[in-house]
């Protein structure tokens, strides 16, 4: 879903952002960072993300105990009781505690799955773009195969075959979302491997691994960094959809599972589904704002401030 936007940002509309030959030029990264900091939307997004991370990290301090403990009367509306600011659910569990502890699951799944996707994508894309030839052919076919199978269905099948746990979920999401990154990295590597600085490094005797990781990869990173935020957002949305369907870890509270459980009380206590959903919207919105800002910072000519 979201990964196609990443492709659209850098695919047919990608222009050459290699303003200088080597990534060791600090000016380009500094300029991007400066542009990023000046954007109010980016700062808002960063602020939301930081607060979400802080809430997740300090959840056991803010809401000690198990979020699945029954701590109060059932179905208290938000704002009715000062002790339960966001209300309680049908079993008397605190919604705010569930939200804070759920943040840990949702955010960690998002981050780790994105890291797994990035790693696989970079490895596949770099090998494919750098070596070319039959390695490229085989890897491109493999990437196409993984991209053809509908991602969410693939993740569902993997989670169903194994025992549902947070670990399996992040492995499943990570191993399904890498094709977009791989294609991006491959395109970058194919255009960069003919550059002069690569020729210079090779003539100095540096091996393939050095050239790939220390010379070409730092230059290929800008579009990859842009898609990272989209990857994390996609992973968070996918994990919440899985938990909503009841396919998530039964022992872990996550935002999606709260929405799924609140669905039974939709007619009377719809806040049970609404509140965790707002949390997801804010987090994903923040990620998208940050991603847009990074994209604009690296491609000022495409910022289209017409």
């Amino acid at each position: 879903m979201n990964d196609a936007i990443a492709q659209s940002r850098t695919g047919p509309l990608r222009q050459n952002t290699h303003l200088s030959a080597s990534a060791r030029d600090p000016g380009r990264w500094r300029a991007a960072w400066g542009g990023f900091l000046r954007d109010p939307a980016a700062l808002a997004g960063l602020a939301i993300l930081l607060s979400a991370v802080l809430v997740a990290v300090f959840a056991p301090v803010l809401f000690p105990g198990d979020p699945q403990d029954m701590v109060g009367p059932a179905l208290v509306w938000p704002g009715q009781d000062a002790a339960f600011l966001l209300g309680t659910d049908s079993l008397g569990r605190d919604v705010a505690a569930g939200l804070a502890h759920g943040a840990r699951v949702s955010l960690s799944v998002g981050a780790v799955a994105a890291v797994i996707s990035l790693t696989i994508g970079i490895l596949v894309g770099a090998s494919s773009g750098y070596y070319g030839g039959w390695v490229d052919d085989v890897l491109v076919r493999f990437t196409e195969l993984v991209q053809t199978v509908p991602t969410f269905l693939f993740v569902i099948v993997i989670v169903t075959i194994g025992q549902p746990s947070v670990c399996l979920i992040l492995l499943a999401i990570g191993s399904a979302c890498w094709p977009v990154t791989a294609r991006l990295v491959r395109a970058e590597f194919r255009s960069l491997r003919e550059s002069e600085f690569v020729l210079a490094a090779r003539s100095q005797g540096f091996g393939n691994a050095w050239v790939i990781f220390r010379e070409i990869l730092p230059n290929a990173l800008p579009p990859v960094i842009v898609t990272t935020s989209v990857l994390v957002a996609t992973a968070i949305l996918m994990e919440s959809a899985l938990s909503f369907l009841g396919l998530g870890d039964p022992n872990a509270v996550s935002w999606g599972s709260m929405i799924g459980e609140g669905r039974e009380m939709l007619r009377t206590a719809w806040y049970l589904s609404a509140v965790p959903g707002v949390a997801i919207v804010l987090t994903v919105l923040a990620l998208n704002l940050v991603g847009d800002a990074i994209n604009d910072a690296f491609n000022p000519r495409l910022a289209a401030r017409a």
């Binding site: 196409e144 509908p150 669905r263 994903v284």
Partner: protein, 333 residues
């Protein structure tokens, strides 16, 4: 198209041929992947039948396993699987006691209806919004629509569906909450069509929401990029009206990345169908996925995965042909 002649047709045929050839290894890969997943599924067909009938002795279990060919080697099982596929046999559903193919074909129509309607709505509305945003680029209209679009893009589809149910079905009572038709009403003809349309409206709007955001953002970016090119300057200096330039020159070129995106998104659309159809109880392939998971009916689950992948290949082929028709510069090397 304006000059549809023999050359155009032969170019399209070349594109079709290239697509078909490239699809073959992908289809083979999907078949092998499906076979491997079937092997790894916990509980084989014999266990399922034994469980359904409330238990079995060791001898009858062995007999069942022999019947299902589970004693054969993996190579033999693979060739059995391939020969079944050649006869369009995807196995048997233990839960429904029907062939998987029958189950899938029953539900496919409903899913295609929902997805097709949503995609159509999303494309039309998305392109129009994208054009509007690009025309007012940088001004408050653009910023306002961009913010709304970004919010839509960040909303999980199932949550949007639930909130839509709360608002339109529960609170306002305008639309039905679930299902694809009013059960027991016995409507026929146009009444039945209208009834189905009323049930289709909420799921269609919910599904279209996300893709509307995607397409409008892409169209805006594509329109802005194309309008900077030289041929647009030429058109403007020729004295063509802005409307003609926008629609016939800029939009037609900007639509090409949009069609690519439709092809890329179809897989995600089928995956999203699972959640949306569950939320709205729409009887399609998506809700069949969840039902088969709950019933541990793995042949159905994997049959759906297989058919969805095939569908994605077909849609990508159609999109490629569409692009070749839209853009005469596309040649087969």
């Amino acid at each position: 198209m304006s000059n549809f002649n023999g050359a155009q047709l032969s170019r399209l045929l070349a594109v079709f041929r290239r697509n078909a050839l490239q699809a073959i290894p992908t289809v083979l890969g999907i078949i092998v992947l499906n076979f491997l997943l079937l092997e790894w599924v916990p509980g084989n067909a014999a266990d399922v039948v034994a469980a359904e009938s409330g238990g079995a002795t060791a001898e009858s279990l062995a007999q069942l396993q022999h019947h299902f060919g589970l004693h054969l080697s993996m190579g033999e099982r693979l060739s059995n699987y391939l020969s079944h596929l050649a006869h369009f046999d995807l196995g048997m559903s233990a839960r429904h006691n029907l062939p998987v193919t029958t189950l899938i074909l029953d539900r496919l129509g409903n899913t295609l209806l929902l997805m097709g309607a949503a995609l159509l709505l999303a494309t039309l509305t998305g392109v129009v919004l994208g054009v509007l945003m690009s025309l007012y680029a940088g001004r408050w209209q653009d910023k306002l629509i961009s913010v709304l679009v970004l919010l839509l893009y960040s909303t999980p589809t199932f949550w949007l569906g639930l909130m839509a149910i709360v608002l339109f079905a529960v609170t306002l009572g305008w639309l039905p909450t679930s299902g694809s038709h009013t059960i027991g009403a016995g409507l026929t003809g146009w009444d039945a069509v209208a009834d189905k349309a009323r049930h289709l409206l909420l799921p269609m709007l919910t599904t279209a929401g996300l893709y509307l955001a995607v397409f409008s953002r892409l169209t805006r970016a594509a329109m802005l990029e194309v309008s900077k090119q030289d041929f647009v300057r030429t058109a403007r200096s020729k004295g063509l009206s802005p409307a003609v330039i926008t629609v016939r020159h800029v939009l037609r070129n900007a639509l090409i990345p949009v069609t690519t995106l439709i092809g890329m998104h179809f897989g995600a659309l089928l995956g999203g169908a699972t959640v949306i159809e569950t939320v709205f109880n729409w009887p399609g392939l998506g809700s069949l996925v969840l039902e088969s998971i709950l019933a541990r009916d793995y042949p159905v689950l994997l049959g759906i995965l297989f058919c969805s992948s095939l569908l994605v290949i077909v849609v990508n082929m159609v999109v490629d042909l569409l692009q070749a028709a839209l853009d005469p510069r596309i040649q087969v090397r």
